[in-house]
């Protein structure tokens, strides 16, 4: 029988939630890596038992973990249990956390700091891991300070795709949460085409597997930057794609929800009747490429849902016309946020939609958003939610 596995990253560890296709009864395992910040976990579409995990904290830096059995056991890549990849004293080789910017013999470049001065790139953590659509050994990592890395050996060694930083990198600046590369979308029809997004530099696209990049921010209008229509410098929070229409993307920007139908060359706003067009997450229904989900958030300073009501908004028209989805969600005294990587959809016939909150709840809708139920209510603040559909 089909089922789902929900991978939840939190401020204090990772959790794995599993259920059958009814999505009513859940098994909860975790915390894995207790006490560490888990920015993101994601499974390989080719081999669902292969899961990559970003484990980090401010004291001890970055660790990459990998599971080859669906999250039951974990190891740092290069150290699979039972294989002879140990040092002479028998301890596993931890070679998975070396993220070094590619300077190609040149000085490391600089980016713009909050005060407008230039600041050297400093690796801080991995925000997002995106496994290849065709090879479980290939995985991309979006990191802070913003750059894109790739591993072709299952997460053991990482190499930067440095041409991205050449796209006016000196003018990029950090958002409130840091200068992170948080979105990586691979075109399923053309794996050499990859979209990425950075807070606060904007969206970029490569059509040749990362050798060259171009900013794709035409149509974005950001009133909070000196030139609201600048080619770069926009605080893009998240981009989503439906695999059947890879030239159509939906964007949740710092303010505004937008869409493009020409692979990012031109964007237009589709915020429509949303109560506020600020937010972090955006995602697309698994079977309806024009059905889109966002969670409006009150801003600039508050960063919680408006009016104490947790409402997912759904558009079945590709934007502009939005309906609030509230059944099963708290409609009073609720002041949580839903962070940019904390929404996902499953592929079951009745599309499941999932999101996690900074209050530690993970909600599931097994009917495409019509009704919701909490899978768990009291986890640490949720940073990311990914769903795997299991056969």
């Amino acid at each position: 029988m089909s089922g789902v596995r929900v991978l939840v990253g939190t401020r204090k560890g990772a959790f794995v939630l599993t259920a059958d296709g009814k999505r009513k009864k859940w098994d909860v395992s975790g915390p894995h890596f207790a006490g560490w910040e888990i920015y993101h976990l994601k499974g390989s579409p080719v081999d669902p038992d292969r899961i990559y995990c970003s484990q980090s904290n401010s004291w001890f830096g970055q660790i990459i973990q990998r599971s080859d059995d669906g999250g039951k056991t974990w190891h740092q890549p290069g150290t699979p249990a039972g294989q002879e990849l140990k040092n002479p004293e028998g301890f596993p080789m931890g070679e998975s956390n070396k993220f070094v910017y590619d300077t190609a013999g040149q000085s490391l470049t600089t980016h713009q700091w909050y005060d407008g001065t230039q600041h050297p790139w400093e690796f801080k953590r991995v925000w997002h891991l995106e496994p290849s659509l065709s090879d479980p050994e290939i995985v991309y990592a979006g990191v802070e300070d913003a750059a894109l890395f790739r591993s072709t050996d299952g997460g053991k060694n990482w190499h930067e795709l440095p041409a991205l930083r050449a796209q006016q990198g000196a003018a990029w600046m950090p958002g409130a949460g840091g200068m992170g590369l948080h979105t990586i979308l691979i075109d399923p029809k053309n794996p050499d085409r990859i979209y990425i997004a950075i807070s606060a530099a904007g969206a970029f696209r490569t059509d040749d597997g990362g050798k060259h990049w171009k900013p794709i921010n035409r149509g974005l209008n950001s009133r909070y930057i000196p030139n609201p229509t600048a080619e770069i410098g926009h605080c893009v929070h998240r981009i989503a794609m439906h695999p059947s229409k890879p030239n159509t993307l939906f964007m949740q920007k710092h303010w505004d929800v937008l869409r493009t139908d020409d692979a990012g060359d031109n964007w237009h706003e589709v915020s429509g009747n949303l109560p506020t067009d600020f937010g972090f997450v955006v995602d697309v229904h698994a079977h309806e490429p024009e059905t889109v989900y966002v969670v409006p958030i009150k801003s600039d300073a508050e960063h919680y849902v408006p009016d104490g009501k947790l409402r997912v908004y759904r558009s079945k028209t590709g934007g502009n016309e939005w309906e609030p989805l509230t059944k099963g969600l708290p409609q009073e005294h609720c002041y949580v946020n839903v962070l940019r990587d904390a929404m996902s959809v499953d592929q079951l016939d009745s599309c499941g939609v999932y999101f996690g909150t900074t209050g530690g709840q993970v909600y599931c809708s097994a009917d495409a958003g019509d009704s919701w139920a909490a899978i768990v209510r009291d986890l640490p603040a949720v940073l990311s939610v990914e769903v795997q559909t299991l056969s």
Binding site: G35, W36, N57, S58, W59, F60, G61, Q62, I63, Q76, T79, N87, E89, F91, P92, M93, G94, E95, N97, K98, F99, V100, Y101, F123
Partner: protein, 98 residues
């Protein structure tokens, strides 16, 4: 034998309990201790000093015989009490909580 005391998250990561004991060939300095520590526990690479620059991570401090040696040269010989194992070399996480 050199004795090294790790913060608890790193003890869990390395799969050890209590102090770590190491053979450190040559002069006993923060650098040679960390080299020996990472050679024995490769999973700790990058968690104490940066993988690229080798610099101490900013929220960690090093102590020897109750002295903060975090800002001394990593090649400065440590007190004989550490070199002989009478006293441990402490790797301490900054108290950044509240």
């Amino acid at each position: 034998m050199i004795r090294v005391e790790l913060p608890s998250p790193l003890r869990r990561l390395a799969g050890v309990e209590g102090e770590v004991t190491l053979d450190v060939p040559g002069p006993v300095t923060p650098r040679t201790i960390l080299d020996a520590l990472e050679a024995r526990y490769p999973m700790l690479r990058g968690t104490i000093r940066d993988r690229d620059t080798g610099k101490r991570r900013p929220m960690l401090r090093f102590f020897a015989c109750e002295e903060d040696v975090s800002h001394e040269s990593v090649d400065q010989p440590l007190p004989s009490a550490v070199a002989t194992g009478a006293e441990p070399f402490l790797i301490v996480g900054a108290v950044a909580g509240g």
